[in-house]
């Protein structure tokens, strides 16, 4: 009994050590936040179209009316990584049989229009979220973020950061999982 008591600090230290080892293991990012919307339907959003861009606005009903897998991408013209991922997203929209929809986050319509003109507009529908409320509705913390929504309108995956390089690979893996 007495020995047990004296061993207690050691036991506690080992437990903490175990958790610390887990904490340092493979690719864990202490500041990343998992999305609250995985396996849930798309929350209520209703965003007007971007002025000067020839695409309809975006609402939850619109999204649910669309067939197949949808990629909901938050982007902005002032966001460098968004520019980097743009060609990859465009390609995904064309080749992978997914519908690309976008939300322009905290961006001036003119700037967005110019950006899309320069880089091309792969989006089927675009919502203008100047106030950032749309982003809050989906719990985003910055741009770019991309949600994979399945054919039934359920959000299956949230990808934070640009879909480039290793990120692109992981994104494609996630996409494959959703397809099954």
């Amino acid at each position: 009994m007495k020995r047990l008591l004296f061993a207690l600090p050691l036991v506690v230290a080992m437990i903490i050590g175990g958790f610390a080892i887990w904490g340092l293991s493979g690719g864990r990012d202490p500041s990343s936040l998992p999305s609250e919307f995985i396996s849930k339907p798309v929350p209520q959003i209703d965003l007007a179209a971007i002025e000067g861009v020839e695409r309809p606005g975006l609402s939850t009903a619109d999204i649910n009316d669309m067939d197949g897998i949808k990629l909901l991408n938050f982007f902005a013209s002032w966001c460098g990584p968004c520019r980097a991922e743009h060609p990859n997203l465009t390609r995904l929209g064309q080749e992978e049989g997914v519908t690309l929809i976008g939300i322009n986050y905290k961006d001036k319509p003119e700037a967005a229009a110019k950006w899309l003109e320069e880089l091309g507009n792969p989006y089927v529908a675009l919502g203008s979220d100047y106030s950032g409320r749309g982003g809050i509705e989906l719990g985003i913390s910055g741009v770019p973020e991309t949600f994979i929504i399945d054919a039934d309108g359920i959000i299956r995956h949230r990808f934070a950061g640009p879909v480039v390089g290793d990120g692109l690979r992981r994104f494609l893996e996630a996409l494959d999982e959703v397809r099954q």
Binding site: F6, A7, A13, G17, I21, P30, P34
Partner: protein, 663 residues
């Protein structure tokens, strides 16, 4: 050339440390005096070599040698000299070098000033100390070398974060590290004692000065950090229970328990296991702190370097040192029998409660800090554990402790007369109750807890002063002589306890009754707060050595009478490309009037400037209280009885009280 020499010196120091880890320990086991004494030479060698390395790095900063990568990343030619020097330790690699420097310094100090410590114990202690050195120096050489070069050298450095270009923050790390690393000596003593298999009361006497020194420095370091946060960050906060703050606080809490426990072991030959355990835990928590800050395990505003690879190395060090020492404790400590018995009401009992409550408080803070990690590992959920939890957990544990703190000094060893003690404390109790009633009457709003805490703060204050007055028989003839005859450590105790009381009052006042106002302002605007009226007079542009500032002038009046002028600034640092706020504060004992200025972020804002004005009642009691703590600790350090190994000045003087034959 010099950086290379510095690195070479570090490698040599590692060799000295390796020798020191083995030879003295073996010598103690075999009774080989020569091997045991080799510790002296190796400790000195380590110190000299590491001092050289530290000097080499500092020189690189002072001359802005941009061929050294560390200097490039953390300095700039335009930085004021003080911050160039402080830049030496204001980064991961440099701070490790500082750590190792202080470690070697303490080791050398024990080697040379611990003259009355038995040879075997000293040898074992220095060996354990060397194990720690080996761990940290090798960590540096293999993963965090401050002397790596960069070719071609850039034209200038990347500048230190302007937020850190501050006097308080420049001294903050060295003070903290003397604290953290100082506890390593006590740790080494404890492990050595476990290896030897016994703890004499004399052991506790040797432990005490080192504990005091480390504790005092740590107190100063934490206080300085809080003070810096208060005046620099712009919203008058001084503690956020951020993981990095917590990992500095936990060694302080158990260090305090250790200090008290060591006294019991010395005087009454009991609490041995407690004292040894606390000695191990204090340094273990220091190590844990080092780990958390540098590994990226937890997110924090303060985090140094987010590097899991380094984290794994440190974790390895931790597993060896903490796991090893606690295993040794589990194995050896049960056979160390305690000596003195004591009654349920006695000073020992009071200090036992002290140990228990401080340890529980530490465990609570540790649990709260690590819980997000635990939960994420088990369920994958991410939660935050912030001030609401820590305040709810910590304060209720502190309250009984503070109550006992008032009573404790009155109690005698072995058996105390509780009735007698409590009857003497009637004055303190009355003062506490009266204070609470006055506070309740005078203030509007603020939680009931705050009113109680104010009362408790006064309780500790009056009880401490009263105990001191009684001890020196203040109002009887010859008081001054009695004061001078008292051992300094007992004056130190009184000062420190008063310090705690002031801390409680300051913390309560500035948290519960803080006023906080943000307003649009253009020159000419007026703001009312806490009975003061502030008039925004003007804004002027000024240049500093490496920044450009907008300085506002605010004149402050109360009831129409001029009180003071405040000059909050907004500074822009071109190279770092960032801005900082320099607040302007009017400090009085009653409270601080605190102003800062910034530009509105929103487009089309109603004015050119934002003014933020705070009133923080009693906040200066925090800093004064900390100073009392440091004063108390320093005074105790000068106690004659603690100079166990001080070199004798003349042969005619009797041996110092602390000197005992080696047993």
């Amino acid at each position: 050339m010099i950086p290379e020499l510095g690195q070479f010196a570090l490698s040599l120091a590692l060799i000295a440390a390796v020798v020191q880890s083995v030879l003295p320990m073996l010598g103690a086991a075999r009774g080989n005096a020569l091997w045991m004494q080799s510790a002296q030479a190796s400790a000195l060698a380590q110190f000299v070599l590491i001092a050289f390395a530290f000097g080499a790095l500092m020189r690189s900063y002072v001359v802005s040698d941009f061929t050294v990568e560390n200097v490039v990343n953390n300095s700039h030619s335009l930085k004021p000299m003080l911050y160039k020097i402080a830049g030496t330790w204001g980064n991961h690699e440099g701070s490790l070098l500082l750590w190792v420097f202080i470690l070697a310094g303490f080791g050398a100090a024990v080697a040379f000033y611990g003259r009355n410590i038995p040879m075997a114990l000293k040898a074992r202690t220095l060996s354990v100390q060397a194990w720690i050195s080996v761990g940290f120096i090798s960590f540096m050489l293999f993963t965090s070398n401050p002397f790596t070069r960069v070719f071609p050298p850039p034209l200038d450095g990347n500048d230190l974060n302007p937020l850190l270009q501050d006097v308080g923050l420049a001294i903050h790390p060295p003070l903290l590290y003397v604290g953290y690393v100082g506890f390593s000596i006590v740790f080494s003593f404890a492990v050595a004692a476990l290896i030897e298999g016994r703890v004499d009361p004399a052991w506790a006497r040797w432990v005490r000065p080192w504990t005091l020194a480390a504790w005092t420095s740590l107190t100063a370091g934490i206080g300085l950090g809080s003070w810096w946060a208060y005046y620099e960050l712009g919203w008058g906060g001084w503690w956020f229970w951020d993981p990095v703050e917590n990992v500095s606080f936990m060694p302080w809490l158990v260090g305090t328990a250790l200090l008290h426990s060591a006294i019991v072991t010395e005087k009454r030959d009991t609490f041995k296991s407690w004292t040894i355990l606390l000695a191990i835990l204090t340094f273990s928590l220091s190590l844990l702190g080092t780990f958390i800050v540098r590994s990226g395990l937890l997110t924090s505003v303060h985090a140094f370097a987010v590097d899991p690879e380094r984290g794994i190395y440190i974790l390895g060090l931790l597993i060896l040192s903490i796991g090893g020492s606690l295993a040794l404790f589990a194995w050896r400590a049960p056979s160390m029998e305690g000596g003195g018995l004591f009654a349920p009401v006695s000073r020992e009992a009071g200090l036992l409660i002290n140990n228990l409550l401080l340890t529980t408080a530490t465990a609570t803070v540790l649990f709260g800090t690590l819980y997000p990690l635990f939960l994420e590992a088990i369920t994958g959920d991410k939660i935050s554990v912030g001030p609401p939890f820590f305040n709810a957990g910590f304060i209720p544990i502190m309250m009984p402790l503070l109550l006992v703190m008032g009573v404790g000094p009155f109690m005698s060893w072995k058996r105390a007369d509780l009735q007698g003690v409590l009857s003497r404390l009637k004055v303190a109790l009355a003062a506490a109750v009266v204070t609470s009633l006055i506070v309740w009457y005078v203030t509007t709003g603020g939680p009931v807890l705050a009113i109680i805490m104010m009362g408790i703060g006064v309780w500790v204050l009056v009880a401490s002063v009263q105990e001191w007055g009684r001890r020196v028989k203040l109002f009887q003839d010859g008081a001054w002589a009695r004061i001078r005859r008292q051992p300094r450590a007992s004056h130190g105790m009184t000062l420190a306890h008063i310090g705690v009381a002031l801390l409680v009052l300051g913390a309560t006042g500035s948290s519960a009754w803080k006023e906080d106002l943000v307003a649009f302002a253009d020159p000419g605007a007026k703001i009312d707060i806490a009975g003061f009226e502030l008039t925004f007079e003007s804004v002027e542009r000024q240049r500093g050595p490496n920044y450009i500032a907008d300085v506002a002038t605010l004149s402050v009046t109360r009831d129409g009478e001029f009180v003071t002028t405040l000059y909050p600034e907004r500074r822009f640092y071109p190279t770092a490309g960032s801005t900082t706020t320099e607040s302007s504060i009017r400090q009085t004992l009653a409270g601080d009037l605190y102003a800062s200025i910034a530009e509105p972020a929103a487009e089309g804002a109603k004015s050119d400037w934002l003014l933020r004005v705070l009133y923080e009642p009693l906040v200066n009691f925090l800093w004064i209280g900390t100073m009392f703590l440091v004063l108390g600790g320093s005074l105790s350090l000068t106690d004659r009885r603690l100079r166990v190994g001080a070199p004798r000045k003349s042969k005619s003087k009797a041996a110092p009280i602390g000197a005992t034959p080696a047993e």
